[in-house]
Structures are given as C-alpha cells and as structure tokens.
C-alpha cells in the first residue's frame, strides 16, 4: 500500500516537472510556474515521508521473520535427538542459524521494495508511452538490457564472492592452527613452514578478490553506460522532434528525468534475482533442519517413573549407531550391543570395563534414552525407558560425560544447571562432594567466576570436577560416570575418589573407567567384549579367575602407573 503510494509520487514528479517547464517556463507564465514548483516540493515531501515509512515497515517485517525463524531453529535443535547431533557438524548448524537466516532476511526486506520498483517501472513506461509512443519505444529499447546485464552480473559475481569466502575461511584455518599449535611451531622451529602456508592462502584470497573486482569492472560500467544510451536517444531523436514542433520541450525534460528514475529499479532487479537464488538455497537448508522430527519423544500414554531407588535392567538389548534415520546423512549401521543383558540392583554400583569400542559408553547413553534400542528393553525401576516421560526420566538419571561441556556462565550457575533455584548451600555441598570446592574458593570471584569460552580457563580436571558437581546437585537416582575423572590431575584424583565414594553410597551408579583404582570403587565389575557381557564379579575375583580381564588391565598396566602417583 505504502509502496504503491510511493511509486505513484515518484512517477508523478516527472509529470509535474513537465508541467512546470511547459506551462511555466516555456509559456512564460510565472504564477503557473510557482504553482507547479510548489507542487513538486509538496509531492517531494510526501514521497520522502513514504520512503521512510516503507523502509521501516520492510525492515520490521524482515527482521521479525529472521528472529522468529532463529528462535524456532534453536528450540528445534535443542529437541533433536543425539543421533542427529552425532551426524551434524556444529559449524554447519551454526551457519544455518546465522548466515542462511541473514540471506533470507536480505531477500525478505527487498520484497516490498521490489513490488514498488516494478510498479515504478510499469508506471513510467505507461506515462512515457502516453506522452510520446515513438520516443518511448526508442529510448526504452536499451533499458531491458540493463536488467539482463544486472542479472548476469549477479550470477557471475555470486560464485566469485563465495570463492572469497571460501578462501578467507581457509586462511582463517591456517591462522587458527598456527596460534592453537604455537607450541608445535615453536618446538620444531617451523615458523617458515606456516609462513609459507599463510602466504599461499593470502595469495588465494587475493586472486579470488581480484577476480571479483574484474567481474565488477566489466559489469558496473556497462550498467552505467546503458541509461546513457537512452538519454542520448532522447536528445538526438527527441531534439529533432522538438525542432519539428511535434514534441514539447517539457516532455523532453520529463523523458530525461524518467530515464534516470528507471536506472535504480532496474539495477535492483538484477540484484534481487541473485539474492533470490541465494535465499532459496538458504531457505532449503533451514527447512531441512526444521523438518527433521526429533526421534526421541514421549510415547503415547507415557508414564511417570514409580518411586524407587533406581534398579537398572538391560534385557537382550541390540543397538547400532546410525540404525535409525538420522536426518542429515545416514552412514552404515555399526552394531555396538548384541544381546546385552545387565542387571544393576538399586543402590549398588557397577564398573563397566573393556577395550575401546566395546560398547561401554553406549550402555550409559541408553539409560537416559539418548538413543532408542533396536530391540530388547532398558528398564528403570521396572519401567521401560521408552514408555517413561522423557523429561522425568532424564531428571532421574545424572550423567557426567567424558568430554566436559560447561556454559559461559558463573560456576554457581553451571553447578546449579539442573535446578537454577538451588541454594548456595546445596551448590557448595555438591562442589565439595566433587572435590571442586577448594579450587573454586581460591578463584578471585569464587563461585561467581565466569567460566566457559569467554571466561576463566580452567584445567581439564577442574572442568570435570564441576561437571561432577553438576550431576551430583541433581540428586539423580541413577548416576553414570563416563570416564569422568580421565583429565583429573593424578595428584588430585584420590581426593575425588574419596568424594565419589560418598556420592555413590547407596546410589545406583554406573562407572565407566580405565583406571583400576577407579574401577575398584564399584561393588561389582562387568567385563564387556564386542557388545556383550563376557564376565561379571568383583574386581578381585575377576582378577583371579579371568584371563581376558587380566589382559585388559595389563594393556592398561602403564596406565596403572599414574593412578595415585603424586608426582
């Protein structure tokens, strides 16, 4: 609506100009000249105000659409199952939530402008034809070419701009690496090697940038040239006709004015076409994520867990990664568990031991239903986890991952992640149990210290201890420790081990570990091999009777050195 008014005012100014020249200056009528020039000024004001309103409305809609889509994308990604995230690259999701949405916004903002521009072009053409059909056809003949050139410009520039982005990313990788790996570079005196790499990356960026510059150099002048063709035609053909008396001078001036008015909308059309291609690719990539349904959702008639102390049972479970539809890109299924049976009595602890890839981490991930089993059942206190309410299930199961992830927030907020309402007392209690309290109070801001990417950098062991505290605070009925102490400094590990002993007391706990001292914390040890239970018993009993168990531990013999070593 605003766009329509806007293009009307734009178009009418040329007509007013013609009136002012013909009726005022040419006819030597000063009162009419005054009238028409005041009219130009007034319409100019209206047009200006409309420009402002149009711009505001267009951007408001476009930004709102961008914001809503981003909210939606974030919420959706939060709900997508683990298998999806195993396949998806974080960087790729990031670019969908950022660059792709930007492309969409850039396009959406141009839609109302495009409509207004198209109306301007149509209006101008109609008026010119009405004023003088012959001159209109002759002078407009060159204008469609502008559109063609602009379109080609857009489509040729686009890959080149992408090339610049690609090469800049490659350059950034070289820089990031040489900073992150500075110890290697310095340690081997490899400064010249990385310099050469950077040099060739910088050359690539330069080459792509100059390619783009040359494309700009061949199209921009053409876009500049074509309107001149129209102006020249009007001057040549129109000029002679004014002399003939078949055209008024005012019409000639108006023609010139209109031709200049058309330049911008026509150039924009080319840009919009290029933008539209990019936006539709972006829209597809965003839709791809939004249309992936979360695999792990509440079953119809999902029930609450009954009160209990966390008895865990695996019944004949088969599981393979990539078995179900993982959304982004399915690989070949890799069988991990094969007829797996395990029973952990409420309040007892079990250590899962086995070589890398034997499936012990997977067992931990099936209990909170991060993945669904292919066949068989996983039960907590008698309820099949696939029939339990997902939220409730996950609140009842605490897990400490092998790779610690902490949020950019205060230490207190990180520990209280499961329960933001937690009191300072309970946060400190959890931190003490995880052996984290002492180093936390030594920090300048104590529990209020901001950690994560943009805050204090803590050591791997310190981060793991905060992650343990986070799980402890949730007070889960089942606790899973997936190699949770691997980065803890050997000097500190015995402290945590003592603390873990307290945490595990009377709580169903599943410990996944390499270090014998940690394994020994558990009531029972289960030895896994190729996806099923090979043997079970106490650490001592297995050590005495089981050849394979001794082998696995013997392979870890050197690892045993660092348990409890206080060097």
């Amino acid at each position: 609506m605003v766009g329509l008014l806007w293009s009307m005012t734009k178009v009418s100014i040329g007509l007013l100009l013609r009136q002012a020249v013909d009726k005022g200056i040419e006819a030597d009528d000063m009162s009419r000249l005054l009238f028409w020039s005041v009219a130009i000024a007034l319409v100019g004001c209206v047009s200006g105000v409309l420009t402002g309103i149009r711009r505001y409305l267009a951007f408001r809609e476009a930004r709102l659409a961008e914001k809503r889509l981003r909210d939606q994308l974030f919420a959706h990604v939060q709900r997508l199952h683990f298998a999806f995230h195993d396949e998806a690259q974080a960087g790729d999701l990031m670019s969908r939530g950022n660059t792709d949405l930007q492309h969409l916004q850039n396009f959406v903002v141009m839609i109302p402008l495009t409509i207004a521009n198209v109306m301007t072009v149509v209006g101008v053409t109609v008026i010119l034809v009405l004023v003088d059909p012959f001159l209109a056809v002759v002078s407009l003949a060159a204008l469609p070419l502008i559109n063609v050139v602009a379109k080609r410009f857009g489509s040729r520039l686009f890959p080149s701009v992408m090339g610049i982005q690609r090469e800049s990313a490659a350059l950034a990788t070289v820089v990031e690496e040489s900073v992150a790996g500075v110890r290697v570079v310095k340690g081997f005196g490899a400064e010249d090697v990385v310099k050469t790499r950077l040099g060739s990356a910088a050359d690539d960026v330069y080459r792509e940038s100059m390619d783009a510059a040359r494309i700009r150099a061949s199209y921009l002048p053409a876009l500049q040239l074509l309107p001149n063709v129209g102006l020249i035609t009007v001057l040549g053909v129109g000029g002679h006709r004014v002399v003939d008396g078949s055209l008024s001078l005012g019409s000639l001036v108006a023609f010139n004015f209109y031709l200049i008015l058309l330049i911008w909308p026509l150039r924009m059309l080319g840009m919009i076409i290029a933008n539209g291609q990019r936006a539709s690719a972006a829209a597809q990539r965003v839709a791809q994520v939004l249309s992936t349904d979360p695999d792990v959702v509440d079953a119809p008639g999902a029930r609450s867990l009954p009160p209990g102390r966390g008895a865990v049972r695996f019944e004949n479970v088969d599981f393979a990664y990539g078995g179900s539809d993982v959304g982004v890109e399915a690989g070949a299924p890799i069988p991990v568990l094969d007829g797996f049976d395990l029973h952990v009595e409420a309040g007892t602890s079990v250590a899962l031991v086995g070589a890398t890839g034997c499936g012990k981490s997977t067992v931990g991930r099936l209990i909170p239903r991060f993945y669904d089993v292919d066949s068989g059942r996983v039960l907590i206190d008698g309820v099949d986890v696939s029939q339990a309410k997902v939220d409730e299930l996950r609140r009842s199961v605490g897990i400490v991952f092998e790779e610690t992830f902490l949020f950019s927030d205060s230490i207190a907020a990180n520990i209280a992640f499961a329960d933001p309402e937690a009191t300072q007392e309970s946060i400190e209690r959890a931190a003490r149990l995880a052996g984290a309290h002492d180093f936390i109070v030594d920090l300048e801001h104590g529990y209020d210290s901001i950690i994560g990417e943009r805050g204090y950098s803590l050591s791997g062991g310190q981060r793991q201890r905060i992650a343990i505290a986070r799980a402890v605070l949730a007070d889960p009925r089942v606790l899973i420790l997936d190699d949770a102490t691997s980065s803890v400094d050997p000097t500190k590990e015995h402290e945590i081990r003592d603390a873990l002993g307290v945490v595990m007391e009377g709580r169903t706990t599943i410990v996944i570990a390499h270090r014998p001292a940690t394994i020994a914390l558990a009531d029972r040890v289960v030895l896994l091999d190729e996806g099923h239970v090979l043997a079970a018993g106490t650490h001592e009993a297995l050590l005495a009777d089981n050849e394979r168990y001794r082998e696995v531990l013997a392979a870890a013999d050197d690892v045993a050195d660092d348990t409890g070593v206080s060097v």
Binding site: L17, A20, I25, M30, L33, V38, A41, G44, S47, G48, G52, Y56, R63, K67, R70, D71, A75, Q78, H85, L93, A172, E176, V179, V185, K186, G187, F188, A190, A213, A217, P221, Q224, L225, V229, V243, L249, L252, F257, T356, F401, F405, F407, A418, S486, S487, D489, H514, I519, A520, L543, A555, D557, D558, V559, A560, D562, T563, V565, S566, V567
Partner: protein, 593 residues
C-alpha cells in the same frame, strides 16, 4: 567533507588516534604512490564524464533545440556517444586500479602481521587469548576488506562526484547553486546526527550479533548436556530473550535510517522544485537559459545520492578504522625473545648447563630461583615434582621459549641468548604434552619438522621409533587427510604423530612433556616405546608425570617450590630417603592390585 564529521565524536576513535592510523596507512601505501595517482586520475576523468552528460543536454537544448539548429543537436549527440564509450573504459580501469591497491594493501597487512606473530615468543601466547590473536588476523582484517572491496570505490567516486558537481554547477550558474545550497545546512545537521546515532546503534547491533551467535554456538555444542538435564525449554526461552535484544538493536538502527533517508530525499526534491521554480523565474527575466535549468535538475539527483551513500559508508569506515588500530597495535608489540646482533650458531654435541637460573612472570610471581643443573651430552634426565613446582618452566627455559630473569642457560658453552634462533631450533625439538595436528595429510604434519624431507625419509624416521605400521595400515596410509584438527585420531595417535615429527627433526636435544591424562591402553604402550627409542642417544629432558618414566631415566631431578630439591639416579634417591623416595612410596602404596 562530511566524512570527518563523526570521527571527532568520542565513541571509538579519538581524533589523534584516527590521524595516526591515517598517517601509518599512508606510509604503508607509499610504495603504491604511482598507482594511487593513476587511480586518482582515472576517478577524476570518470567523474567528469558523468557530469558531461547533463552539460551536453544543456548545450543541446539551449544552442540546438531552442534555436532550431539541427547540426548542433547532431554534434552534441555524437559527443555524448564518444564520452559515454570513453567513460565505460575509464570506469572499468578505475575499478581494477582501486581494487588492486586495496587488495595489495590487505595482503601485505596479512603477511606482515603473520610474520610478526611468528616472531612473537611463548610468553606472548601465554598472555594473550588465542581467540583474540586469531581475530586480529581474521575479523579485524575482514572488516577492512569490506571497505576495500566496495567502500573505497564508492568513497572515491562519490566524494569526487560531490565536489566536482558543486564546482561545475557553480561554474554554470553561481546564482542557482547558491540557491540550491540553502538546502545543505539541514542536510549537514541531519547527516552528522545520523552518523552519531547510527554508529551507536551499529555498535549495539554488533554486540547483539556477537552475543546471539555465542548463545547459538553454546546451544549447539552443549545440546547433549541440555538434554541430559531436560532443560530444553529453559534454554530456548533464554535464547529468545537474547535474540529479542538483537532484534531491538536492529530496529533501533532501522528507525534511525528511516528518518534520515526522507530528510535527504525531501532536501533533494525540494531543491529540484526550487531550481525549477526560481530558475524558471530567472529564465523569465532572461538571466538564465532553460538548458541550464534542465542541467541543474539532472545534476541535483547526482548530488544528494553521494551524500546519503557517504553517510552510510561511515559505519564501514569506523569499524575499519577500529580494526586497523588493533592491527597496528599488535604490529607494534615488541618481540620479546629476539635474536641478538652477531649471534653465533650453537656448537654440536655440547652439554646443557643451567647456571643459577631464576624466572618470574611479568607480575612478579617467582617460579624458579637459583637452579643449577648440568646435563651431559646424551644423558636422559627426568624432571619430577608437583603441579606448579616449575618443572615445565625449567624445560621451557632450556628450549628458550622464555628467557630466564636471572642466571644463564648454555649449550656447549654458548649462552642461548647469544645463539642464532635457527641453530637453536635445529639443535632442539620440543614435544608438547598434547599432540596437535594441522589440517592436511599425516605426512604433511610430520614434514613440518623438516620441510625438505622426502617421503622415504619420513617413512624411515617413523619406522625408527616403531610407529610407521600404525599409520601406513590406514586405507590412505600416510596420505590420510587429517580432518577437523584430527578428530578422527585418538589422543594417543596424535601423540605418536608428534613423536614422529621429533624423529624426523632428529635433534641433539629433546624436550619431552609427558601427557598427564590417560590414553587408551593399547596406544599408551606404543607411545611409551616410541618415546624410549626416540630418547636413545640424545640429550633428553623429560617432564615426567609417571614414576615409571622417571625410574627409566639416567638421572632424576626433583623440582619443588621453584628449586631443585634433589638430583641423582633413581636408586640413589630411593636410598637417600628424601622427597623422591616419599613420592615413590606413596605411589607404590596407592597401587590397587
């Protein structure tokens, strides 16, 4: 003339800083002086050709159409065609010339900065956050490239167009120009206010984008933790709040341009109306020709466009200036481990002498004091001690990652500070605690240690420490691509690559930092063996985290509280019953089996 207006605002850059940046940039551009003059001439020619069109229209109307002289009309048309064609080629050359200057400048800046970064020593990297250093080379220079790729061209051509338009308008009719200039004061006021407000809004938007992106990043990389604690809803609504702030910041900047653009447009059309109205009156009085009025109407549309575009360019210039300032600051950081003039090469086969060495951080915290230690050529020495006692620092001083604050470290009698950096790096290799892989293939990663090594030499080096089979068995063998910093390789395998580099470098002196965290058992044993074979026949300083490693060394040095507590063989120290014996006893007692 409006460009300078916002720079004196104190938002980001003060006038002095801006001047300094300009001066320095000019110095860097000096070698390109000729090309700059050439580009300037081209830009001036192009601007003139842009204005020639309306001028020719004026002549055509006044001398041709009005007086009915068809010959003049034809001449004008021909002249216009010639000028249009010429301007096409001039413009083309101008775009290439300006882009080339800009891109050359960026490339040179990148190379210089990286060169400088490579000279910086370890203390610099310890002090600065990696992300900040990287952003100097990436986002700060990228903020310049936007300016170079579009802004510079727009800046030069619009600026020139503005100035030349005013000059030509004045030459044609000073009276009419003065009339039109009445519109300028409100435009200047509006432009200055726009620059100031939009700069503030722009900084807001930039902060908002940064915050939203890191929230997005965190939400994606932390999704497993969020789901494990069933906090999806809370995190989503937290994200919505941050996203809302970004939206508000965007809208604020839209509002600012939504009032500014109309002001310019109204001023432009108002001036057109005035030119027609008053100009027409003057035509009536016989002071002006109708061609002149037409010329004004056509040129005025060229006049207000540049003002608007220049104002919008301001943010780009501002952020580029801020980026340049940071880049220059980094270039000015002094290299703290420089090579002395007249440095000599390190002699081969010398012993390592640490004499009365002390080391403190910049803030005065003392890490080491009075350390004396002589390591014979070919000897293997293990440094043990609690975390933070200074054993890593001692090793880093020996590798000259840092210079000691007092005392000296010499190899074969030459103080490290008097040695050439090249000979030092040749003589010594440092294997850090964590294996680090660069993008590229495995073999390229190993070749890093000796760029001229052939594939066969690399294979031999790897075989010599028994790690060749481990990698040669991969489907692509040594040419396996290391993706995403080696995420497909285990920590142990990365460590092996690291040891492979050391084997290829074949240094006389080896500094090994043993990994603290546990590796998977299978690889652990291979790593141990490779380290053993690597250390054979070399002067080796190993920072030991495991007492078995210490027990295998020729001698053990216990670092405690910044001093050497004990030095001797494993057996001697056990017999002595001191700190080492206590550590060893505690360890033996903690064995679970």
């Amino acid at each position: 003339m409006w460009m300078g207006a916002g720079v004196d605002e104190d938002d980001k850059l003060d006038r002095d800083a801006a001047k300094q940046i300009l001066r320095r940039t000019y110095r860097m551009l000096r070698p390109h002086r000729r090309r700059m003059v050439f580009a300037g001439v081209l830009a001036a020619l192009f601007t003139m050709s842009t204005l020639a069109g309306p001028l020719l229209v004026r002549t055509g109307i006044d001398d041709g159409i009005k007086v009915g002289d068809r010959a003049v009309i034809n001449k004008v048309v021909v002249a216009y065609v010639v000028i249009a064609v010429l301007s096409y080629f001039v413009y083309r050359a101008q775009v290439v010339a300006i882009s080339r200057i800009g891109e050359d400048f960026l490339k040179e800046l990148r190379l210089r900065l990286f060169d400088h970064l490579q000279k910086m020593s370890m203390p610099f990297y310890d002090r600065e956050k990696a992300g900040v250093v990287v952003s100097r080379m990436t986002s700060d220079i990228d903020s310049l490239s936007e300016l170079v790729q579009m802004g510079l061209l727009m800046f030069v051509s619009n600026g020139l167009l503005l100035v030349v338009s005013i000059l030509v308008l004045g030459a044609v009719s000073l009276k009419l120009l003065v009339l039109c200039m009445l519109a300028l004061p409100p435009v200047i006021v509006a432009s200055r206010k726009f620059q100031r407000d939009s700069n503030i809004a722009y900084l807001d938007v930039r902060d908002g984008i940064g915050a939203t992106l890191s929230q997005l990043q965190e939400g994606i990389s932390g999704v497993r933790v969020v789901q494990a604690f069933a906090r999806e809803d809370v995190e989503s609504s937290r994200f919505e709040r941050g996203n809302r702030r970004l939206y508000d910041a965007h809208m604020k900047s839209v509002k600012i341009s939504a009032w500014y653009l109309p002001v310019i447009e109204i001023a432009g059309l108002g001036t057109t109306a005035a030119a027609v109205g008053v100009g027409g009156f003057w035509v009536h009085q016989g002071d002006l020709t109708i061609g002149t009025v037409t010329f004004f109407v056509l040129t005025l549309s060229n006049l207000f466009e540049p003002i608007q575009q220049l104002s919008q360019l301001f943010n780009m210039v501002q952020s580029a200036g801020a980026g340049l300032k940071k880049v220059y600051e980094l270039l000015d950081t002094e290299v703290d481990v420089p090579e002395r003039p007249g440095a000599v090469d390190l002699p081969a086969g010398g012993e390592v002498e640490v004499r009365d060495v002390a080391f403190s951080y910049l803030d005065g915290t003392e890490v080491l004091a009075g350390v004396d230690l002589t390591i014979a050529a070919g000897e293997r020495i293990a440094l043990v001690g609690p975390t933070g006692a200074g054993k890593s620092t001692l090793a880093k001083l020996i590798a000259r990652f840092y210079d000691p604050t007092a005392g000296s470290i010499a190899v074969g009698g030459v103080d490290l500070r008097d040695a050439t950096l090249a000979s030092l790096r040749r003589a010594m290799a440092v294997v850090p605690q964590e294996g680090f892989l660069f993008n590229g293939t495995l073999i390229e990663n190993i070749r890093l240690a000796r760029p001229d090594a052939t594939d066969d030499e690399i294979g031999e080096a790897m075989a010599s420490i028994g790690i060749l089979d481990r990698f040669a068995d991969l489907p692509d063998g040594l040419h396996t691509e290391v993706r995403e910093r080696g995420s497909r390789f285990s920590a142990g395998e990365k460590q092996l690559v690291s040891l492979g580099r050391a084997a290829l470098a074949a240094p006389e002196i080896l500094v090994l930092d043993e990994a603290t965290s546990s590796l998977d058992p299978g690889t652990e044993a291979v790593v141990e063996r490779a380290m053993e074979r690597l250390a054979e026949g070399r002067t080796t300083i190993v920072i030991a985290h495991r007492l078995t490693t210490a027990a295998r060394a020729d001698r053990v040095a216990v670092v405690a509280g910044g001093c050497l507590a004990e030095v001797g063989t494993h057996d001697e120290l056990i017999a002595r019953g001191g700190a080492y014996a206590a550590l060893f006893a505690a360890w033996a007692g903690a064995q679970p089996v």
